[in-house]
Symmetry: D2
Subunit: 239 residues, 4 copies
């Protein structure tokens, strides 16, 4: 029996490519998915642009006039999963508009709480997969992992992985490279090692939180923060 049998994960691909099969980011997400599935995690890869997701800081944009909004269904899957990995390409050094949109829509629910009064995403574990052709993995990861942490996700060590070619125009992850039998990046030891470590760290952290019945309660409930040892009662001018 696999070790992480009870866990589930959503990998959310925020590529700008409408056809999932043509997304470069999907290729690296697939490798993460493969590890998770082999280790027993119930994993689903969602391609944002195969869905119609509205703009707006509300849980459901049909309430603000959109004819259709697929986000509530995607969000329900994210809520059911222990792990969320956001995948994004890099454009001009930063994450895609689709990744920003996904994060905004996650954030739109962030005032809600779980049965303990903690913010909604407490107890879940977050990571990030980034591909580009030359520059920006860390810049994308910073923003993405910070957003996930801010809304309640726990972020394991080395919670991101990515691939980049040499500076300048060039092949994207998985593109054919003239005169080579290997597709761009598929044999990058660095990328494969980091994708492996990230995935295992996500699974370990999710398992640890699951074993504890969620993120420990105490001191992290917005409603009752004054009832515990709290900042307001401490002397800021102590020596």
């Amino acid at each position: 029996m696999a070790r992480f049998d009870g866990l589930s994960a959503v990998l959310l691909n925020c590529s700008l490519v409408h056809d999932a099969s043509k997304s470069h980011t999907r290729r690296l997400l697939n490798r993460v998915r493969g590890i998770m599935a082999t280790e027993g995690v119930d994993v689903e890869l969602i391609h944002m642009l195969e869905h119609q997701v509205g703009f707006g800081m509300v849980p459901d944009t049909t309430e603000i006039g959109d004819d259709r909004d697929d986000w509530p269904d995607i969000h329900a899957k994210i809520m059911d999963a222990d792990i969320l990995v956001i995948g994004t390409p890099i454009w001009l050094g930063v994450k895609s508009s689709v990744a920003s949109l996904a994060i905004e829509r996650l954030y739109a629910y962030s005032g809600e709480t779980n049965e303990h009064g903690q913010y909604l995403y407490y107890g879940k574990t977050g990571g990030c997969v980034v591909t580009g052709n030359e520059d920006g993995v860390k810049a994308c990861s910073m923003e993405t992992l910070y957003a996930l942490s801010h809304i309640g996700y726990t972020i394991p060590p080395q919670a991101d992985c990515g691939w980049l070619g040499e500076i300048g125009p060039g092949p994207s992850y998985g593109d054919e490279v003239e005169g080579s039998n290997t597709r761009a990046g598929y044999d990058s030891e660095f990328t494969n090692k980091n994708a492996t470590i990230m995935t295992w760290n996500l699974m370990h952290t999710a398992q640890m939180l699951k074993d504890r019945g969620g993120f420990p309660v105490g001191g992290n409930v917005a409603e009752t923060w004054r009832e515990v040892t709290n900042a307001e009662d401490q002397d800021p001018d102590a020596d």
Copy 2:
């Protein structure tokens, strides 16, 4: 008996002010310290600019010509602690040069491993305290928390807190405000609530990791990543 008795923490103040007592960031760090101490954590607040810390990507800059380098001593304390909180002021929207220096010096050891072969900082928990007079808490936190995660720290939910005044010049955290009995920010419910939640989340995460004997081993040892289910063996072109 306090709940977090076995834990220890270093709060590293990366203020640009040489005299610790005049640092605004220290004031908010003091509140974090107060909560931790009350809850049984053995906590030390270190003011970087009371020490002489050299520039360079080496563990000890006396090896590259400096007469003195206090970093190895500071680093030893960080290695002994379960929790590290980096405190930084904001200048031009970003963290201080001293915070960047501290992170560089942490990173200079990052190739080293613990007894399991994991990177050195695995099993530790990281957070961030930011103060400024108008703008940039999240930007500073993004960079700082990402750096800590990258080198092995686990990042809890809402792992940062900060204070800012309204946009434009104005009082810094703890400055006297004309016509007011309260010092700037001391009664900010938002800042106090977030400082409280951050601190508890740091303690919970550190305790969870301590109870597990460190961050779980498996799949996260650079030397042996090919011996586990790994990215290289997964099909990037799967449907």
Copy 3:
């Protein structure tokens, strides 16, 4: 006769609010528009979410399957204008998905050149207006102004302005404030001063470039960079 009579500007509001009249960012953009109009600039304020703009790194997303794409019309207006100001709200410390989308769509044309062989946006001047309720003006401006510079815009001194309230939840720009006759931020001297300086600097720079017939040609044509004094011919190991 006004001093900047021959100039034109597009202010692109990337708010997440569908109804333009409810956008907070629009209110500050309106002040920028007012200065420009008074000084003779032909200025148009476009509200992105009143249009249907597709995702994708192509000039026209109807070519990749969308039923409709309003971007080519918006882009034509941007190409006709001397000045572009991107307005964005802040969510989780960064610019909106709509702002990222606008920048991606600008970038999708960036391989094209003008009659001199310079990239398309050379000779134009760029700026940025940001509003939020607590944090992130500079972080949004950094990304936005960098993107504009990267694709060919000239960035004047102090090319951004914004408004933020004190840290934590609170009114957005222009919201009614209980017990006050003034709407939030409307009397902020800092915001008004910076909006004024930004606007004048945009107009001065645009006029300077117009007087020169565009950005000076020479050394900045990708096709012929080897024909001028160039980096490849310089000794990187010089003393």
Copy 4:
């Protein structure tokens, strides 16, 4: 006679390497220097870590207790120059602590004004050179160019250049590469083209500003912003 004979430039190398001759960033700065010198610009390359520059938001840190501070001399050279290029290596995806230090020290003078009442750095032109071994040129440039713009520098189109290797550990700019006659990056067409374009754009912009006698005065003097058409007088709620 060269075209840019009357111009001067400071290239400020913020490498973490104490010995200038071992800095990778210096190598790319040298190519920028070569172009400038050939075109008649009076250019000086300063290696920050060959000097002793203090921490603190003051013009001269001997006033706050340092025995020595070389910054006032460096700053005097920067004030004499039309162009400033900040060179920085990348560590953990961001600019070096030394680059942050240089920017803080520039900022410490930013309240001062020139003879027109504009902020001190008005009329000057800024750029950025970044080298690393895998990731982060744009992230470093964003922060650096934004800081320069914020304090008064004009930023030309494509005001940065850089070099990166493929993702993961590898040679830095100018390192010997086994089995190759060329040093890493020296023949990168992308880097050489961008370094060329950046340098020319810096020279053109500086010349344009010099020909105008500095950045045009009007609407950008903090003391008198209410005397021109200004934001406060515009209707934020206009249709």
